[in-house]
Symmetry: C2
Subunit: 316 residues, 2 copies
DNA sequence: AAGTCAGGTGATCATTTGTTCACCGTTGGA
DNA sequence: TCCAACGGTGAACAAATGATCACCTGACTT
């Protein structure tokens, strides 16, 4: 390119980026039409006369997060650094990161749906107190019988609401019942159906991701029976979100369990604009991958080891 | 600042500047309001997380030009490099630079006013041919008797118009007459007054700057008499633009010469949005400085030596 | 010599961005 | 305990910017 031209681009760039003039002002000053200034400035960027450099923060996982974001089409990924695999720290770290992200997402009048699990408990416990009375916290899955009452959906929703200063909206029913008939009966109750409808319209959903294996709480706490477990396995189920089971493509699997579950289903969840999935661990990699493939989650909060594993291709 | 906060700023900056997302999209993705994205991006710039660097062009005068621009509140300054003080090259170089600037300023239907002089001749001679029939070139000062006919305003206006492919509008009168009465009579002629009126409404004025000294063409060609010269000197006149004389503050000086001159006066000139002054040389420094102080010129095209001299403070 | 195609132009319109304002919650002090 | 000042917030508005379109010009082809 012409030296004169380069010089002009330089001058325009200085006027725009350093002196902060508007394109119109620059056009007037240099006797060029406003639109031409716009084009010349673009050219200056293309010609690398203007360089925009972003100082990287010293966090090794930034790249990992970005690549994951792109690979799975996510809105945001946070991969917290976990040196050793210590369990206590692990949940805490995930909880802190998720709490931060959740807090940032809160304005004043959202509807937040929440499921259950150890990770979500950590999220709730790391959230600072707020006063947001117009926010509603909705329990997205019925109650769970577990030794640790604090991971129960009702308890989590209640506590989250309390911390946020919001109104809790709870599901007064179990998450899983013995038969389809019972489920149907419960669902007819407006007290229940209304809550689920509200959860389906949530602005934000805070969910964990379960794996279908012997370590999973659902199995360890006998929430699903051994028969259920085996049957799901046979149907290539790989994990769940809120007891809604999916296969390796993140598709909802048609099983009678589905008809005994009371809570948000996966198709409803997919419609929520911001689904924050907080989860990690070696045994969960494949179920997380499936959930991501199925676009069940928009924001993934996990640890770096899990993140790295997700970058590699599925072994299945 | 918080590391988490820095990380967020980094992510937003990458999304905005590298991935080219809009602030609205980023807000949606990160669960933050659009307006907040705008504020955070500004913060990222303040915190130097985002650095905008402009590659300097290898032209030593860029800084000089910029400083001059600021010091005198000009729109633009071009200081062409002149190693040796060779006269021929000097006018040619100034002409090339001015022609480039003028050309850039031309759209399609401007009115260009032009005065006279050696420098302007060089400008016109370095302009490439164009076809802009809607442009009008107006002679801003009546004719001058000089040995070199090509520096005469009529000739310059005619030639400029021809090269641009535009319509010339000439002043059929001398630039300086013997008495106020003659001037008044000529001015009454609509043929003449209309031209001056048009010049006063010009979009662009192309002018030289004269010094009031013995080297000046006005004196050498005896355009102004020895008496005129001495009288002006006594009135602290320091230079002229188009035979309109001004003092060291660039203010028009009240002298009878003024009433014998036919052409644009300084107050009219000042109203033209884009006055391109093409001029330079050691003997002209102080008169250029005065013209700049008086805001008679918006765009200065000169040589680097003159530019440097203008940076220093007046000796007067 | 006429046609046509590419490149560049400004006008117009739509989008994006920044600014201003009123509001709210918090904090620090009386 | 109350009040006032403050910082932060989004809504509404204004400004700036980018995208699209139709047009023109100049160069090359037929």
């Amino acid at each position: 390119m012409d030296t004169e031209q380069r010089k002009l681009l330089y001058k325009l760039a200085v006027a725009y980026y350093e002196d902060g003039l508007t394109q119109k002002q620059i056009g007037k000053r240099f006797g060029v039409s406003r639109i031409k200034v716009s084009r010349l400035l673009r050219q200056a960027r293309q010609e690398k006369i203007v360089n925009i450099h972003i100082t990287p923060v010293d966090d090794a996982n930034i790249d990992l997060e970005r690549v994951l974001c792109q690979k799975y089409g996510l809105d945001e990924v946070i991969a917290v650094p976990v040196k050793n695999g210590q369990a206590v720290d692990f949940y805490h770290e995930l909880g802190v990161a998720a709490a931060d992200t959740l807090q940032r997402s809160l304005q004043n009048k959202e509807v937040i749906a929440i499921t259950w699990g150890r990770t979500l408990k950590a999220v709730v416990n790391n959230l600072p107190a707020m006063t947001k009375p117009e926010i509603r916290v909705v329990q997205a899955l019925g109650g769970i019988n577990s030794p640790d009452v604090e991971i129960n959906g009702s308890e989590l929703a209640r506590k989250l609401a309390q911390i946020v200063g919001a109104r809790p909206i709870l599901l007064s029913s179990p998450g899983l019942v013995a038969s389809r008939e019972i489920r149907d009966a419960l669902i007819k109750d407006p007290q229940i159906s209304r809550v689920i409808d509200l959860a389906a319209r949530a602005d934000i959903a805070l969910v964990g991701v379960g794996a279908l294996n012997l370590e999973s709480l659902a199995r360890r706490y006998n929430i699903i029976s051994r028969d259920d477990f085996e049957r799901l396995k046979a149907r290539d189920v790989i994990g769940d979100i809120g007891l809604r089971y999916f296969n390796s493509q993140g598709e909802q699997v048609d099983d009678e369990l589905h008809d005994r579950t009371i809570g948000l289903d996966l198709n409803q969840l997919r419609k929520v604009k911001r689904v924050i999935g907080v989860t990690g661990g070696p045994d969960k990699v494949e179920s997380i991958r499936a959930a991501l493939k199925g676009k069940l989650i928009n924001v993934l909060i996990t640890d770096d080891n899990t993140g790295k594993a997700l970058l590699e291709n599925s072994t299945a």
